[in-house]
């Protein structure tokens, strides 16, 4: 039986993009929280 796998583009679209996005959102939020003078 043939063995199938995702192409590089499919990996980027399916995993890499949302993962990078979530990491950036978390980093931006932490940056806001740790900013001197932040109201948080």
């Amino acid at each position: 039986m043939e063995d199938y796998s995702l192409t590089l583009g499919a990996h980027l679209l399916l995993w890499a993009f949302p993962l990078v996005l979530v990491v950036l959102v978390i980093v931006e939020d932490l940056h806001d929280r740790l900013k001197p003078g932040s109201e948080r």
């Binding site: 199938y4 499919a10 679209l13 993009f17 959102v25 931006e28 948080r40």
Partner: protein, 545 residues
């Protein structure tokens, strides 16, 4: 699809009734806290991060996310997932660029609606901008509301076991009646709270169902093998497309995201946030919701393709999987999630349409109902009347309305998104430029969309140039008769008509029949705003801002 047992349908119906009961309870609680016009139209600017964040995202994703998005990956495999980065880039722009600027601007202005923001930003002595924006919003929203009511009616009738034409009518009436009651009693606050409840239901469903389905298939590896066995192209990001077809498809899917800053039912949520701190918190909430829902929907479609290969309509994959895979109570909750995605959008759009009539037209343009109590009563009755009109249109299935819905997203996006971004991020645009942007965005959207439909309806597309000239002439005559237009406004109308006709010509010259209309309409509207502003004078009111 195998037949569903009667006992399952009964359980699903019980869950559905309980779900409607929760919506009514939330509406009643919100109504008790709604005392005046600003309360009704904008929840008294009191929303916390969760209700503002989830309400903004749940309102923007109609039944499309639980039906259409699922169908995309079911039909095209992983390449059907390109809508996800498109929509998430739109979310990024909205929550990081629009929300932090729009909330303080609207609070300083005292703006209640999107139209209010635009008119107060640039000054609108003769109500030209207000009436133009209100007309575009009303036309797009009424079509949208009617189409969503149709979708809700179909989902309700199938989940409550109602059959035939009478079952469909009953489904439309039940869904619409609950939403009209909740929205007219509790206004913006009820809409935001029900959105929060429904948005969380959608997110939980779209996280849990694909995880369960993939586990049942035997893991992610088994899903990949199953998809590859059906079609190896399902495993690539291009899906077997090559050259211009591939780039047209990707640009079109990414282009969906351009519309988000122009959706009145979405960005008013940012205006209703309590303070800047809530806006910072809602950024994370909205982005996580978006990632979970878009990728969850995509995975449901992929898993559905392998598990239900005989399913004729990919858009039904979520409902079919719910009814065939899980316990009836969970199936009921999953179907409630499908309907939630629809109803959370209907209620938000219904309120925007009602605010456009009662606040922008009756209160602001005609100068009636200036006290807070009368504003609230007027708002409530307008929601009821607009909602009933929506039901009538949904039941009569007026073809023109449903045809127009197809570009309601791109029409609103092109008319308002470039304008809102320019209002918040850039100086140098005046009210004549704003008028040109709204007209150009709408005109190019219509012309380009007709071009995309040219294969099926070539006669109308061939007439676009003179229909545009006729429309421009009617607008100019109206402006003349009401003495609302000055020379700069006339230049704006002529510029919009010219850009619309140029875009119509370009579609044919370059053969761009497959490019999603929002992409050219968005950029041409932005260009119109800047170009017309550069050649027309700035008004005294604008100079003082």
């Amino acid at each position: 699809m195998t037949p569903v047992e009667g006992s399952t349908l009964t359980t699903v119906a019980v869950v559905m009734v309980a779900y409607l009961g929760v919506l009514l309870f939330i509406g009643w609680r919100a109504a008790k806290r709604t005392h005046g016009g600003e309360d009704f139209h904008l929840a008294g600017r009191s929303l916390g991060a969760w209700s503002a964040g989830i309400s903004s995202t749940a309102s923007s994703e109609s039944g499309w996310v639980t039906l259409g998005a699922v169908g995309m990956t079911f039909t095209y495999g992983i390449s059907g997932l390109w809508y996800a980065p498109g929509c998430l880039l739109g979310y990024l722009v909205n929550v990081y660029l629009v929300a932090p600027r729009l909330r303080p601007l609207s609070a300083d202005q005292g703006s209640i609606t999107l139209t209010d923001v635009i008119t107060r930003r640039w000054g609108d002595p003769k109500n030209v901008l207000r009436l133009t924006a209100t007309t575009i919003i009303l036309v797009c929203m009424m079509g949208y509301v009617a189409a969503q009511m149709t979708a809700a009616g179909k989902a309700f009738s199938s989940s409550l076991g109602l059959e035939g034409r009478s079952g469909y009518i009953l489904g439309v009436v039940i869904g619409a009646a609950v939403i009209i009651l909740v929205t007219s009693l509790g206004g913006f606050r009820a809409v935001a709270w029900t959105d929060l409840f429904q948005g969380l239901l959608v997110a939980i469903a779209l996280i849990a169902l694909p995880l369960y389905a993939i586990a049942r298939l035997g893991g992610f590896g088994a899903l990949v093998q199953g998809l590859g066995a059906i079609d190896p192209n399902f495993l690539s990001a291009g899906g077997g497309r090559l050259g211009p077809a591939l780039w047209g498809f990707i640009i079109g899917q990414l282009g969906i995201g351009l519309g988000y800053p122009g959706m009145p039912h979405v960005i008013t949520r940012y205006m209703a946030a309590r303070d800047d701190h809530q806006v910072q918190r809602l950024q994370v909430i909205a982005m996580f919701w978006g990632v979970a829902v878009f990728y969850g929907a995509g995975l449901v479609g992929l898993a559905g393709r392998v598990m239900l290969p005989g399913l004729a309509d990919g858009e039904q994959a979520l409902m079919a999987m719910a009814l065939q895979l899980v316990h009836p109570v969970l199936a009921g909750l999953l179907l409630a999630a499908v309907i939630s995605a629809v109803l959370s959008t209907v209620s938000s759009q219904l309120l925007v349409a009602a605010s456009a009539v009662s606040y922008d037209v009756v209160e602001k343009t005609l100068g009636k109902a200036s006290d807070d109590r009368r504003s609230l009563v007027l708002g409530r009755w307008t929601v009821a009347v607009v909602g009933l009109l929506g039901i009538l249109v949904a039941l009569s299935e007026v073809r023109l309305v449903f045809w127009f819905v197809l570009f309601a997203w791109s029409g609103l996006g092109a008319a308002f998104a470039p304008l809102i971004l320019l209002a918040l991020l850039r100086r140098g645009v005046n009210r004549h430029g704003a008028l040109a942007a709204m007209l150009t965005g709408t005109g190019v959207t219509v012309a380009w969309k007709l071009g995309r439909d040219a294969a099926t309806n070539p006669e109308i597309f061939a007439r676009v140039w003179w229909i545009t000239l006729l429309a421009a002439a009617v607008i100019l005559v109206l402006g003349q008769l009401t003495r609302a237009f000055d020379m700069a406004d006339r230049i704006a109308v002529v510029a919009a008509a010219s850009l619309t006709i140029i875009s119509w010509w370009l579609v044919q010259q370059w053969g761009l029949y497959n490019l999603y209309e929002l992409v050219p309409a968005f950029f041409l509207a932005g260009f119109a705003a800047l170009a017309v502003s550069a050649i027309t004078p700035i008004s005294v009111e604008e100079a003082s801002q």
